[in-house]
């Protein structure tokens, strides 16, 4: 069974078409690289796949759930790492992770190994507002994977991470995680190297992935 099947997917903001005619198929365990310039529709696509935005046309099936009618099936299965870390600034990193663990019904005992894996256990009690962007991104990665989702939706996941941190995050969100991934990136070469399928977007429309993509 395909993990993601999109057929002429369409999404509008008012009259403006943010996504149109997007068709792609991603098998379980594969990585889809979504490439394109600013405003191409990459984040909109991720939000539709996460069930946060309703598609306005075409068909979308994610992990067997037809969107938008069956999007209630998705939350437990999707790990979403977007532009916003989805962490409360006034709470500590650990309090944020406990909060999300409670919402997902995950035992708190899962958190300590996760923090250790990302090497953030020493900073877990500090308020998120006091942390650097790189550390916030590490906590956001922990939040996205704490419920062990089979599908990861990643929007520039290595933004703000130094090489050592990116290496620490690799087993959780990288190819070696074994999860199905949708990876939005501006690094065309890097994204293509770690993907099985590639989708180029320009003004919300699919285009070939080549050097003209960003022109």
């Amino acid at each position: 069974m395909a993990a993601i099947e999109l057929e002429r997917l369409e999404r509008r903001y008012g009259e403006r078409v943010a996504l149109g005619g997007v068709s792609v198929r991603v098998e379980e365990g594969q990585t889809l690289a979504v490439l394109g310039g600013n405003g191409a529709g990459k984040t909109t696509l991720l939000r539709v796949l996460a069930g946060l935005l309703r598609p306005h046309g075409g068909s979308a099936r994610v992990l067997g759930a037809a969107l938008p009618d069956e999007r209630w099936k998705l939350p437990a299965q999707v790990g979403y790492l977007g532009h916003e870390p989805l962490l409360y600034r006034e709470l500590s990193g650990l309090e944020n992770l406990r909060y999300h663990a409670d919402l997902h019904g995950v035992a708190h005992s899962r958190l300590a190994p996760l923090l250790a894996e990302l090497s953030i256990e020493d900073r877990a009690d500090e308020p998120v507002r006091d942390l650097s962007r790189g550390l916030v991104q590490r906590f956001a990665i922990a939040r996205a994977v704490l419920h062990d989702p089979p599908l990861l939706l990643l929007d520039e996941p290595r933004a703000n991470l130094d090489p050592a941190a990116a290496e620490l995050a690799e087993p959780l969100i990288g190819r070696s995680s074994g999860r199905t991934r949708v990876l939005v990136s501006h690094d065309m070469r890097g994204a293509l190297d770690e993907s099985d399928v590639a989708l180029g977007l320009k003004n919300g429309r699919p285009v070939p992935v080549d050097e003209d993509l960003y022109r």
Binding site: P75, V78, L86, E90, L91, L103, H104
Partner: protein, 224 residues
Amino acid sequence: MIASARTILRKDLLIELRTKESVPAMVLFSITVCVLFHFGRDRDSLDGALAAGVLWVTLLLAAVIGVSRLFAAEREQGGIDGLLLAPVDRTSLFVAKAAALFVFLTLVELVAVPAFGLLLLGPGLGSAFPELLAVLALGNLGVAAVGALVAALAAETRAHELIVPLLLLPLLVPVLIACAQATEPLFRQEAVAEDLGRWLGLLSLYDVVFVLLSVAVFDFLLED
């Protein structure tokens, strides 16, 4: 649903405890209004209908501040996305937000009602206090249910600070009437619990209707 509502409520109370954004502002506003009335009126003290009206208008206007800030953390820090990405019933968000607002209002009244009694009320609060507590509790429940609904409606709009009072205050007119009418006899020189049952019944009915209505429509408010 109850477990996730408790989780969200605990988070909201912890954030309020750390930021002190809503409750202190609501308390300060209430006391300021009492002080303004204290110095601005041309009578020594208030009683009866006027006292009840001043108390409830003050509390409802203070509630506007709390409702405006109720979804602030969600709006500014992506918390709604975080909730929609979790396998929780969206009703739990409504229950948690209404409960948080109920707690905020209760904390405000712990300070504002004695301040009102001290600065403005002629007869004193003592003898009618148990009846007043019942009116305050039912009033708070109604304000909390409507407030959580209006806050969610306004959360994703750019002009949320304008929308909140414009929607909230008209919806709270029945609460104001019932609470003021129930409180009026309690604030007379000879306090009596006249018609209290009738007005508490009306308040309870309002509370039930708005809790049910909010639960029914809350899911749709979070749709994109």
